[in-house]
């Protein structure tokens, strides 16, 4: 049984937000449909704050530390969907050699940002629940 149309539309929007958060600039319709199908026919859309819809990168703040939360499960699905787009492949896999110094800097930057975000995510996780 298909979800009500409005819920389905909201799930497709949710797919766009999650994929854009992960770095996909233009999520394909097939990815969005796959996402909606994967979360299940009776799934209800997450109630994501409005600012996340506007700035999907801000979802980093709400990315749950608790891996068993509903948002975490849906982010897992979105991560797997990276594998099936060229842009996702570029984001997730390095099949071309890269400058080692740049890789080191990129890693250091990401780890530093994640360190800073850890506290913010902890606080945000207590304030907002999906």
């Amino acid at each position: 049984m298909a979800a009500p149309l409005t819920d389905r539309r909201l799930l497709l929007n949710e797919a766009v937000v999650l994929l854009r958060y992960l770095g996909v600039t233009r999520p394909a319709l097939v990815q969005m449909r796959a996402y909606a199908r994967a979360v299940g026919p009776s799934a209800t859309p997450l109630r994501l704050p409005a600012f996340v819809h506007r700035w999907p990168a801000a979802l980093r703040l709400l990315d749950p530390l608790q891996r068993s939360s509903p948002l975490a499960a849906r982010l897992d699905i979105a991560c797997l969907l990276l594998d099936v787009s060229l842009e996702g492949r570029r984001l997730a896999y390095a099949y071309e050699p890269r400058n080692r110094i740049r890789v080191w800097f990129a890693l250091a930057g990401t780890v530093a940002l994640e360190g800073v975000m850890l506290g913010a995510r902890w606080v945000a996780g207590r304030v907002w629940r999906a």
Binding site: Y21, L22, G23, A28, V30, A34, Y35, R37, A38, G40, A57, L59, R60, D63, L65, R67, S68, A72, A73, L75, D76, I77, A78, C79, L80, L81, L82, D83, V84, S85, L86, G88, R89, R90, L91, A92, Y93, A94, Y95, E96, P97, R98, N99, R100, R102, V103, W104, A106, L107, T110, V111, L113, E114, M117, L118, R121
Partner: protein, 550 residues
């Protein structure tokens, strides 16, 4: 179970019924089939589609919209099953193949992850292909010796095809005297590790060698040689990795073999002249009854244990369940950062590591590269946000080694108990745990491993040490040990004619992968059944079974 209306029952007879078509069931079946005995194979699942042999490499499929079904399944099953599943399990299976296992087999668990697959071939569809033989020391305390098992080890090795080294530091650990395929090619990072190990070996406590794998490097019949397409986690398209489902297809062509699938065995009961197997067809709930001279249970440790304990009416008496405590750690070679991920490679364990725990016991680990693992599976193991974790996984992947390490089962502390249920069929409850010193041993082993890996140029990633839930790697057994609950030939004590041929009968488990030993032991039990086949019932091949539909 059997929620719908039942259809008419089916009665069957067979000289030997084998329950389960995994590696143990097929290994027990071969000697019987070759000897011309009337064999009925019963399995709770059915065949599942194999990936097409022309499937491209993993690197080619990633990013290719046309490759969706290869990665996620035609029904996107891999997405639906993503959360918390191991990468090997989270691959393309028909919905329900995993889900119905516990319910259909009446198993409940706490502190223990019981994994089973309701499909032809069972867990061999997803196994890591580790195929080490046990040595004499590991068999000490067993009522059989290495000499008893050796002919079966050799026969199974010839049958399934195993590749590996005959000359490196771990070739004796994996077993000598076997006819092996040439070893698989190593990935660049593994080559580097082996080269450094060769130079620094004398200063190390670890020993490193090629993994021994049930993977063909030379084509054999319908099975192709490994093409290093890196797609191993998604089931092998060439049939290079051994899967007993392929053997079932061959076995069922023999005129003296019948195959009954989608049928869950509910009970085995002693009859006036043999055994009665009560089962249910999962598709429509119809009952199936099979009268058999002898029954061989190879349904997997937990289902077989439930059937035996129920047959013996042994309720509410806890039975020890051995499992190999497992932990993971990830190591990084910083000099490999920035290198391209290899587009070809073998996607399962490439090297084996041993670390002595005491003079008689060792921990054993398998090393994997990350090029065959989905970035999502790496990201989920990191404490970072998904966005950050995906990028970190990408940047680190070319220099990462994942080690999956096992301790001997003496460090486990699990029990299984058959409990009474209202319908009288009984259910098996599993309670998982570790011995009090297990965690400390895992930590100290990890420290020793880290120290040696550092000498080889690898740093352990902080926070990467993770202890797995008991049972999650499916390395368990020992509930019906030979010499105690079963005879040396797997016959249940107090139940003549009822045999167990899976991991249940192994008295203990070393840190090694035990599937090859389960198969060899099942082959040995099959040979025993042939040698002791009662003379009168032996009838012409293909005309032995009388099927009656009520």
């Amino acid at each position: 179970m059997g929620g719908g209306a039942r259809v008419a029952g089916v009665n069957l007879t067979a000289a030997v019924v084998i329950v389960g078509t995994g590696p143990a069931g097929t290994s027990a079946a071969w000697p019987l089939v070759r000897a011309g005995l009337d064999v009925l194979l019963v399995d709770a699942g059915g065949p599942i589609d194999s990936p097409p042999p022309d499937r491209p490499t993993l690197a080619d499929v990633r990013g290719d919209r046309a490759g969706w079904s290869y990665l996620l399944g035609s029904q996107m099953e891999a997405l639906c099953a993503s959360s918390g599943s191991s990468p090997k399990i989270r691959t393309s299976f028909p919905p329900g193949a995993l889900d119905g296992y516990l319910q259909a087999n009446r198993i409940s668990a706490e502190g223990f992850t019981a994994v089973g697959l309701m499909a032809r071939g069972g867990l061999s569809n997803v196994w890591g292909a580790g195929a080490s033989a046990f040595d004499a020391l590991e068999l000490s305390g067993w009522p059989i010796t290495l000499d008893d098992l050796m002919p079966s080890y050799q026969d199974v090795c010839r049958r399934i095809g195993i590749s590996g080294s005959q000359t490196d530091d771990l070739s004796a650990t994996h077993g000598r005297g076997l006819d092996l395929d040439p070893e698989l090619a190593l990935g660049p990072l593994m080559e580097a590790l082996m080269e450094r190990y060769g130079r620094r070996r004398s200063s190390l406590r670890i020993r490193v060698g090629r993994a021994r794998q049930a993977v063909l490097t030379r084509a054999r019949g319908a099975r192709g040689a490994c093409t290093l397409d890196n797609f191993c986690m998604w089931r092998c398209a060439k049939g290079s990795i051994y899967n007993s489902a392929d053997e079932v297809a061959v076995l069922s062509q023999a005129p003296n073999v019948r195959l009954l699938e989608h049928t869950v065995v509910e009970a085995v009961e002693a009859g006036a002249s043999g055994w009665r197997v009560r089962a249910q067809d999962r598709r429509h709930g119809g009952s199936v009854e099979i009268a058999a001279g002898r029954v061989v249970l190879a349904a997997g440790v937990l289902p077989s244990t439930r059937l035996v304990l129920a047959a013996l009416d042994r309720y509410d008496a806890p039975v020890r369940l051995h499992s190999t405590p497992t932990f993971t750690s990830v190591f990084l070679d910083p000099s490999y950062l920035g290198r391209a991920l290899p587009v070809r490679g073998f996607g399962l364990g490439q090297l084996t590591v041993t670390m002595p725990l005491d003079p008689d016991h060792s921990a054993l680990g398998t090393l994997f590269l990350c090029d065959s693992v989905s970035a999502a599976d790496l990201a989920v193991a990191m404490p970072f946000s998904r966005r950050g974790a995906i990028r970190i996984a990408r940047d680190l992947a070319s220099g990462l080694l994942v080690g999956l390490f096992y301790l001997p089962s003496s460090y486990s502390n699990n029990t299984t108990t058959l409990i009474r249920t209202r319908d009288g069929a009984g259910a098996l409850h599993v309670s998982g745990g570790l011995q009090p010193d297990a965690l400390a041993v895992m930590r100290s082993t990890m420290r020793s491993l880290s120290s040696d890996f550092r000498k080889l140029g690898f740093a352990r990633l902080p926070g990467s040490f993770k202890v797995h839930a008991a049972g999650s790697e499916s390395h368990y057994g020992g509930t019906l040990p030979m010499g105690v609950a079963t005879s040396t030939t797997g016959e249940v004590v107090g139940a003549p004619g009822l045999f167990v041929a899976d991991g249940s009968v192994l008295p203990s488990l070393p840190a090694k992968h035990h599937t090859f030993t389960v198969m060899a032991n099942a082959d040995r039990i099959g040979r025993h059944l042939v040698a002791t086949e009662p003379a009168p019932p032996r009838t012409a091949i293909g005309r032995t079974a009388r099927d009656e539909v009520d």
